[in-house]
Amino acid sequence: MTNMVEVEGLSKSFPPSTKVVAGVSFSVREGEVFSLLGPNGAGKTTTIRMLTTLTSITEGKAMVGGHDVSKDPGAVRNLIGVVPQDVTLDNELKGIENLLLSAKLHHVPNAVATKRATDLLHLVDLDESMGNRVSTYSGGMKRRLQLVTALVHEPRILFLDEPTVGLDIQTRTRIWDYIRQLNRERGLTIFMTTHYLEEADQLSDIVAIMDHGGIRVSGPPSDLKASLHGDVLTISIDGGGNDLVDFLRSIPNVTEVTRVDHSYRLKLPKVESALPEIITGVASRGLKIIETSFSKPTLDQVFLEVTGRSMRDAEESNGNHDRFGTVHARETR
């Protein structure tokens, strides 16, 4: 597989403020779904804007589809579809007119364009409303139309900036389905930014966690989560004592055991594989398990691990900047 995107030491500064994107490097392989995950103000939008030729690159190099973004933006524009964070449709035109306009400006022949436009509108269930003006559409409908507007010229890579921000959960899952479908059925390479952990986890082949303009860690979501050394199992046991702690520690792969009264907290790579041994061990000591619960690691924990704060805290602290407009300015430039 070849690389659709290759980024080396990419930086952006908007003088006089500090670097919004500070030397990031990554690559996206053809057919992959790649997510930049991070709180608002992390530099995700600026990164996507540099890759889509909208914002100039201060330092470093970015290649999209084998073309240098700075030196040959025209070639890059031929290969990409861009779905911006805010809906940018022409409200006074009909749904299908928006699509055909995009097709014409991408030099798609008329006959082909009409066929593709109808197919795409069918894909996102807008067949019935395609003859209505966009001003009559709901927020979710606009988002779906925006998505297919970026596809009518059959780009080789689709850039999505926060594709589901501000949408209700139903519409969000629908958009996820479309994105999956496009990736699986058409083999479309997808580069997206998101600050929804679940979105990144569900859709991505590769997640890169971004904070303060830098990529802290990247890899398949399952690997990132596995790097936390696993699951957390909590069991409450009637009776028992420090000898039980010793027993639990002796179980292979258990990395950590902490006891609070009757409750024992174990850290281990995979709960399922150790559970039978724990149960028989406890039972053989004549003790009774009252309650068990376990949690699988989440990307939020990965974020916490690499940045030292949770996504929500990061959002809130960046939100404070937003009041002064700095983050907003960064994100929209």
Binding site: S56, V82, L105
Partner: protein, 276 residues
């Protein structure tokens, strides 16, 4: 390049046909200039002895016009082209604000086609106003009086001049619209720039009334060139050789200004649309 320009121009016109309010209001605005300004500032009012709105001793200075509205009407057609073109570029400002311009910037189209798309649609809109203004001038009392021999060629000539003038202003103001970042600055810039064009022109009064220092500037004003050209075509059924030369001079002057504005507008568009 031409293809993209026409696609973008058509986008705007489709919208305009669905919502023609702005174009119609701009066109009807001409009525205020003709009926209100034309009567309150009519120099004939100074000569109570003259009848039928005749300009009396001033007729010669006003290019031989039989009444003031006949002199004023071509000027008003020019003013409507100016004000219409100045404000209609606002579409591009909204495109920038709501992000549509960024969407276009990520498309594989020449940056200048966005500029020329704006120019083309503005010219098309502007050309709606001119016949309306012309008709209004004809129907109001003591209004525009065409030369008895006024024919199809004169009419084509008048609208050819309007088209050229509209293009001159469209190329200029579209450059402004594509460069500004907010509606506030757009309207401030437009207001700032329209008045000099308006008041240094021969739209209201002949240049012979102007002080010496203002005359060269006024002579180069595209509204002066266009109004003078239209007056030649309205007041004369056939043109003498000096008149033909004057007409060609006016057209050449407007063309030179137009070419300069296109160059300026393209540079402004490239600068405003490049990645930063």
């Amino acid at each position: 390049m031409i293809g993209e320009t026409l696609v973008l121009g058509r986008r705007a016109l489709t919208k305009w046909v669905r919502n023609p309010f702005a174009v119609i209001v701009t066109s009807i605005q001409a009525l205020f200039w003709l009926a209100l300004f034309g009567n309150s500032f009519n120099p004939a009012n100074a000569f109570s002895s003259t009848s039928g709105g005749s300009l009396g001793p001033l007729q010669q200075a006003f290019g031989g016009a039989p009444n003031y509205i006949t002199y004023l009407a071509p000027g008003v057609i020019g003013l409507v082209a100016l004000t219409g073109m100045s404000f209609m570029g606002v579409d591009l400002v909204f495109d920038r604000i709501n992000g549509y311009l960024d969407t276009l910037r990520a498309f594989p189209i020449p940056r200048t086609s966005i500029y020329f798309g704006g120019v083309v649609q503005n010219i098309a809109k502007g050309m709606v106003a001119a016949p309306i203004t012309f008709a209004l001038a004809l129907v109001i009392p003591d209004g525009l009086r065409l030369t008895p021999g006024f024919g199809v060629l004169n009419l084509i000539g008048v609208f050819g001049v309007v088209a050229l003038l509209t293009a001159v202003f469209a190329t200029f103001f579209t450059g402004i619209a594509i460069s500004v970042k907010s509606t506030d600055s757009f309207f401030a810039a437009v207001n700032f720039l329209t008045f000099p064009f308006m008041f240094t022109s021969s739209a209201f009064f002949p240049l012979s009334f102007f002080p010496g220092w203002l005359k060269p500037l006024a002579q180069a004003n595209p509204i002066t060139l266009a109004s003078d050209a239209m007056r030649l075509l309205i007041l004369n059924s056939t043109l003498s050789t000096p008149q033909v030369q004057a007409l060609l001079g006016d057209l050449a002057g407007m063309s030179v200004i137009g070419v300069l504005f296109v160059a300026l507008g393209m540079a402004m568009a490239r600068n405003a649309l490049k990645a930063r």
